[in-house]
């Protein structure tokens, strides 16, 4: 099914941290996980127009329209993000529905400067119709078809969803929060069966660009669990690219902000474990 509109949180025209080369990144609104370590929790939920943000807005850029929906005046908004701070639902009044053609025009403008585009979020596979339409449009446009198309995902999508993306997707970056299902549930509020299956499936199709392991102190960063995870991944594909990321409290919700930042020395120990497993392509952040 084609979708001519996507629910967009924001775009970044130049990003050096969302896949290979310089990339245009779309952050789609909405996620089906509820990770305690989420760095942009305002992308989790859809705005329900409760209006808690309307009055605090110092620019008076927010108001209710005739259908009692919160709308924003882009010309007045200064992106001070106070609406995001006061939002009780991990959402934002600033996300919006955008037309596919308008996204394509933005990409056309920057295309000489980029290696490709990445859809992130939020969880982009929740809008798989839009993502597939976007990738398809890029691959069939003479000016854009050289761009690579990547998805940055929590891995929760089923094979049937990936099957729709695979013909037009060059690579996926999958977060694996924990190999152990109970730890995964604690960290994300969701089971990891689909994630593990997505990693296997994408690796099989050679579209797994990177697996990301976010190390949250005291939660998923014991040497033992990292070693098990590394072995599990190694059995799937020993050439897999692994990115080991140390948790930083920046951006996380107040109730989780007392989780300490990852200790670089400990992170280096975990990196050694992963290298010793046999992986050669390991990036530590």
């Amino acid at each position: 099914m084609k979708a001519a509109q996507g629910h967009l949180n924001d775009v970044i025209r130049f990003s050096a941290v969302d896949g290979p080369g310089n990339r245009f990144v779309l952050f789609l609104q909405g996620c089906n996980f509820n990770c305690i370590a989420c760095h942009n929790p305002y992308t989790i939920n859809e705005c329900d127009s409760c209006g808690e943000c309307v009055e605090p807005c110092p620019e008076m850029a927010l108001w209710f329209d005739g259908r009692h929906q919160v709308v924003v005046d882009d010309d007045v908004c200064t992106s001070c993000d106070i609406c995001i701070e006061v939002c009780p639902y991990d959402s934002t009044p600033l996300s919006r529905m955008v037309a596919l053609e308008s996204v394509l025009n933005q990409i056309r403008e920057v295309q000489p400067f980029i290696s490709g585009i990445t859809v992130s979020g939020g969880e982009p596979t929740l809008q798989a119709d839009f993502v597939a339409s976007l990738f398809c449009a890029i691959k069939s446009d003479d000016d854009l078809s050289h761009l690579t198309t990547f998805v940055d995902s929590n891995g929760s999508a089923a094979r049937t969803v990936w099957d729709r993306l695979l013909p037009v997707m060059d690579g996926a970056m999958i977060d694996l929060k924990a190999l152990d299902p109970i730890t995964h549930l604690e960290l994300t509020g969701a089971d990891n069966g689909a994630v593990l299956d997505a990693i296997r499936y994408l690796a099989e199709w050679q579209r797994l660009y990177e697996v990301r392991l976010l190390m949250i102190p005291g939660m998923n960063d014991s040497p033992d669990s990292v070693e098990k995870t590394a072995r599990w991944l190694y059995d799937i594909d020993p050439r897999m690219r692994i990115k080991l990321i140390g948790f930083r409290p920046h951006g996380v919700r107040p109730q989780y902000s007392d989780i300490p930042a990852a200790d670089p020395a400990h992170l280096e120990e975990l990196a050694t474990i992963i290298r010793d497993t046999g992986f050669s392509e390991l990036v530590v952040v």
């Binding site: 025209r13 130049f14 050096a16 941290v17 310089n22 990339r23 000489p112 400067f113 952040v285």
Partner: protein, 516 residues
């Protein structure tokens, strides 16, 4: 200046504990020159010079050497030099020895050569039978010698656009030695320069803040195949150079203008362009006709430079302020770099200057068909509250895409150099390909030069040259911009900054000393 003041100035240089012996000699020479009278100027030009609306960058009132000289080193190595009593070089050792000797005899405004040759090309004939490890060892020692013998941040060499064993070895040595000297440019040709070489150069920037990248095809179309970027951001003809660089302060011109934008472009701007050209003409004539530089210097006598490949550089700066002042005077919103109307006005201003400069004949400028080269001048340390060249003010730059789009249209006009510095964040270290994407696209957009800086390496770019952060530790950025001025004003108690060794490397071009 009366004799008493002259003696006091000389004494303050002789006794200055911050200056090394060669630095004292250099400044004493400048002081002596400053005691001479200026070449004849009209009253209007004299007044504009006194007010620094037009500026000779303190080159001195009696020019006796061209500002930038680009000797044909390849020719020297092939023919030998009678003046230097050197035979043609037959192997790499002889070539490196020849060059080190010759560098000490190449004049420039700074007293040090601003151009060392395109070293990958001029050394190529001598390396065929040199093994990789021997090449590395010899070049490494040569590189150390350059930094110690020529301690000025404006000593410059060029690499590329083709890949070579020498090019790669130089980049490796740069990453290892982390020296300020030499300043470095990589010529990039979309057809000839492989991604992997640009990538290697990008990784070198991460470590040591250089090279700059230049758009080779654009340079060749303006200057011919035999050109080089020298000093910093000055692109000129090899075997030639620039007699002088005089610059027009567009902010000051805009401030004294009364009237609309049209009359600014047609009258006020045109009048001051003429005054700056008059200043250039007077200085060029003195150099060529009175000091007779081209009649006696061995480089000219031996055909290593040719007056016909020289021109002079017409510099501008303060475009950002000029645009903002004119916008405000017209009651319009928007400022340079942040609004389409302001940006369009900036293009009108530089296009108009380009027309005016192209219509003004200058003597001894056959290197550019009897006209000056236009140059976006990147500032000197004493500039306050005025932005370098055609740059967007520091701290006010929009995101990189908008930044490139705003400044790129200026670049084609400035044959002898233009620069914008892009600051990138540390995570790009893990993804250097992103910079390769941007550099290639910036040149497709028409940029002439692309320079970027990483916040986390040990170097800081000031106007275009590098200083080591450890050399200015304890000074905030504003302090560092004043270079020697700030140091002079500072207490000798901070002697770890003033330590002779620490200030061994100077940046003379950016810190010209005005006679006090």
């Amino acid at each position: 200046m009366n004799m008493e003041e002259f003696r006091a100035s000389a004494r303050s240089i002789v006794n200055d504990p911050q200056l090394t012996y060669p630095q004292r000699k250099h400044y004493l020479a400048g002081l002596a020159e400053s005691a001479l009278e200026y070449p004849p100027l009209s009253d209007a030009a004299r007044e504009a010079l006194n007010k620094r609306i037009i500026c000779d960058i303190f080159e001195g009132p009696a020019p006796y050497r061209a500002r930038y000289i680009l000797p044909d080193y390849a020719k020297a190595l092939t023919n030998g030099s009678a003046h230097l009593e050197l035979e043609p070089a037959k192997d790499l050792d002889e070539a490196l020895n020849f060059l080190l000797i010759m560098y000490t005899q190449v004049p420039s405004i700074t007293g040090y050569p601003v151009y060392l040759g395109d070293l990958d090309k001029i050394l190529a004939p001598y390396v065929a039978d040199v093994a990789d490890d021997a090449l590395y060892k010899k070049l490494r020692l040569f590189w150390i010698a350059l930094d110690r013998i020529l301690p000025d941040a404006f000593v410059h060499t060029d690499l590329g656009p083709d890949d070579s064993r020498i090019t790669r070895t130089v980049l490796r040595i740069e990453r290892e030695l982390l020296q300020i000297v030499p300043n470095l440019t990589l010529k990039v040709d979309p057809e000839r320069t492989p991604d992997d070489l640009i990538l290697d150069a990008v990784k070198t920037v991460f470590e040591v803040g250089k090279p700059h990248f230049v758009n080779h095809p654009l340079m060749v179309s303006d200057l011919g195949e035999e050109y080089a970027a020298v000093s910093c951001y000055n692109s000129l003809k090899v075997g030639g150079g620039s007699h002088t660089l005089n610059r027009l302060n567009l902010k000051e011109v805009a401030l004294l203008h009364q009237g609309d934008v049209e009359s600014f472009l047609e009258e006020t701007l045109a009048a001051y362009v003429e005054l700056n050209a008059e200043l250039m003409e007077a200085r060029i004539r003195y150099l060529v006709e009175e000091a007779k530089f081209f009649e006696h210097d061995f480089l000219a006598v031996e055909g290593l430079i040719d007056l016909d490949r020289f021109s002079a550089m017409f510099g501008i700066y303060g475009l950002a302020e000029a645009v903002d002042i004119l916008m405000e005077a017209s009651g319009k919103e928007g400022r340079y770099g942040h609004g389409e109307e302001a940006n369009q006005l900036s293009y009108r201003i530089t296009s108009r200057i380009s027309e005016l400069v192209a219509a003004r004949p200058l003597p001894y400028c056959e290197g550019n068909r009897g006209r000056a080269f236009l140059h976006s001048q990147s500032g000197i340390d004493s500039d306050l509250d005025v932005t370098a060249g055609t740059r967007i003010p520091i701290g006010d730059e929009p995101e990189m895409f908008d930044h490139i789009k705003a400044v790129a249209p200026h670049h084609r006009l400035f044959q002898s150099g233009v620069s914008d510095i892009f600051h990138v964040e540390d995570p790009v270290r893990r993804n250097p390909t992103a910079m390769v994407d941007i550099i290639r696209a910036a040149f497709r957009e028409g940029m002439r030069d692309f320079t970027f800086n990483l916040a986390s390496n040990g170097f800081i770019r000031i106007t275009g040259y590098l200083v080591r952060k450890c050399d200015i530790e304890g000074f905030d950025e504003a302090g560092a911009r004043h270079g020697s001025t700030a140091l002079a004003a500072g207490s000798v108690k901070n002697s770890h900054i003033m330590d002779r060794n620490v200030k061994r490397v100077l940046s003379r071009e950016s810190s010209p000393r005005a006679p006090e």
